[in-house]
């Protein structure tokens, strides 16, 4: 089992950024996308996100399962929303503005030009957010998380807790594998077996219980080791130094500017309204 976080973007332009940049960009961009409902602007944001994503140098092969998940998961969500729960009207548009395309058989849900446009926009928005989020997995060195969040204001002990989590990943994964092996030689194969949900839960006890209890029981020494080296008794100095360089600043400035612009345009009612595709209106016979 491969448990190491995949720091595949190592050396790419994005990976050379200060890790705080990647975290802040996700936050800035999410707030930006949140305010936009005009599909033409969403597509523009998607284009920006794609350029950003490409700069992490992520190979398609390594992440296609995640993309597949995005399409299936959000596709399903949007479809259910559209065909089951929609009333054909979209909030924020003038009432009586539903241009009926057809009615879903059996359920009787009206599908209008507006609700269909909304569905397409929802889908693109989600795609845009995922595109900005994915590089975090590949372009931040695992050992940088703690100090990055520390410098973003997370309390010191918890920031170190993040580092410690990465420290425990490989060793606990190895212990987990040992437990799986140890049960296999008692005739219990965890990964084989039925797909039934209940049996799956019950069958996980022989591997989950020993792993968890041993990990906790084994923590005593780690706790002592930290107390003995004065953990949490004062302000820490972190060996790893983070400093924004010019490009980092430019990236942050760019994304902040984007957020500001979109917010202003939103106030003016320019980007925050749903864009109803004209050809759908035509189809609906309006």
């Amino acid at each position: 089992m491969n448990i190491a976080p995949r720091y595949l973007g190592r050396g790419s332009w994005l990976a050379r950024r200060d890790p705080r940049v990647l975290i802040l960009v996700v936050a800035l961009f999410i707030f930006t996308v949140l305010q936009v409902w005009d599909e033409r602007v969403v597509l523009l944001l998607l284009a920006i996100a794609v350029v950003y994503y490409r700069s992490a140098g992520i190979e398609w092969r390594t992440i296609r399962r995640n993309w597949a998940f995005v399409f299936v998961f959000i596709g399903l969500l949007v479809t259910v929303n559209l065909f089951v729960f929609s009333d054909g009207f979209v909030e924020g548009l003038p009432p009586g503005d539903g241009h009926l395309l057809f009615t879903v058989p059996l359920l009787g849900t009206p599908v209008t030009a507006e609700s269909l446009s909304l569905a397409v926009t929802q889908f693109t928005r989600y795609l845009t957010m995922a595109t900005i989020g994915f590089p975090v997995a590949f372009a931040i060195a695992p050992s940088d998380f703690g100090v990055a969040f520390r410098r973003l204001g997370v309390p010191e002990k918890f920031a170190f807790g993040l580092d410690l989590t990465f420290r425990f990943l490989p060793s606990l994964a190895a212990d987990f594998q040992t437990t799986v092996d140890a049960q296999r030689i008692r005739g219990f194969d965890w990964s084989a077996g039925s797909a039934g949900f209940l049996s799956r839960v019950r069958r996980s006890t022989p591997v989950v219980v020993p792993t968890v209890v041993n990990a906790i029981a084994g923590a005593e020494d780690t706790i002592d080791a930290m107390d003995l080296r004065a953990f949490g008794t004062g302000r820490r100095s972190w060996l790893r130094e983070l400093r924004y360089d010019m490009q980092d600043r430019l990236v942050l400035l760019g994304f902040t500017a984007l957020l500001v612009v979109v917010t202003i345009l939103g106030f003016l009612g320019i980007t925050s309204n749903l864009y109803v595709f004209p050809f759908l209106l035509t189809l609906a016979g309006a």
Binding site: V80, T121, R202
Partner: protein, 188 residues
């Protein structure tokens, strides 16, 4: 003669112990999330490992529970290439489950102070309450994605809490039963 006793009643105290248990909880949850193959055909994967979140909260307090849920889920996403922050609201929802389970002494003191059997049952009850309440946070998807609340309820909230409730109710008591006798021998 000095008799040293340490304050061990404060739910919100952050010691080395809190941090180490948090990190172990988060790492284990992340590992098990990745190790468990999702059942094909359902959008939300079935994940018995989820029971670790209410368990760590219940056994070690709200802070450990919150960290285990939030960071564990984010790490699971990070390892699988999803990105730690992409589904940040889901990570937080997991965290709230751990947090609420960790507050059990405040609302379930009759069970948390009882016999081993009571404490095991208390774990299941606290876990169940925590799952139902904590995952309410995924309704933020309604805002983030502009979805209907009914859509979120039927396609996300309901499937997730049903799966996680079953996992929690079965596994948390088993973990409590396994851990408590060991705890009696360690500790300071």
């Amino acid at each position: 003669m000095t008799t040293a006793t340490l304050n061990r009643d404060n739910l919100w105290e952050v010691t080395s112990r809190t941090i180490v248990y948090s990190a172990i909880g988060a790492a284990l949850y992340g590992i098990l999330l990745v190790a468990q193959i999702p059942i094909p055909g359902s959008t939300v994967s079935v994940r018995p490992a989820f029971a670790l979140v209410p368990f760590f909260g219940y056994a070690f307090g709200p802070i450990v529970g919150f960290f285990t849920g939030t960071v564990g889920n984010a790490i699971g996403d990070q390892i699988s290439g999803w990105g730690a922050l992409t589904s940040w609201n889901w990570s937080l929802a997991n965290g709230f489950v751990g947090l609420i389970a960790g507050l059990a002494p405040l609302y379930l003191s009759r069970w948390t102070n009882g016999s081993l059997r009571d404490r095991a049952i208390g774990g299941a009850v606290a876990g169940a309450i925590a799952v139902v309440i904590g995952f309410l946070f995924v309704f933020t998807d309604a805002i983030l994605q502009g979805m209907d609340v009914a859509t979120i309820f039927t396609t996300l909230y309901l499937p997730v809490i049903i799966g996680d409730l079953i996992g929690t109710i079965i596994l948390v008591p088993i973990l409590v039963y396994a851990w408590e006798p060991v705890k009696a021998q360690l500790g300071r």
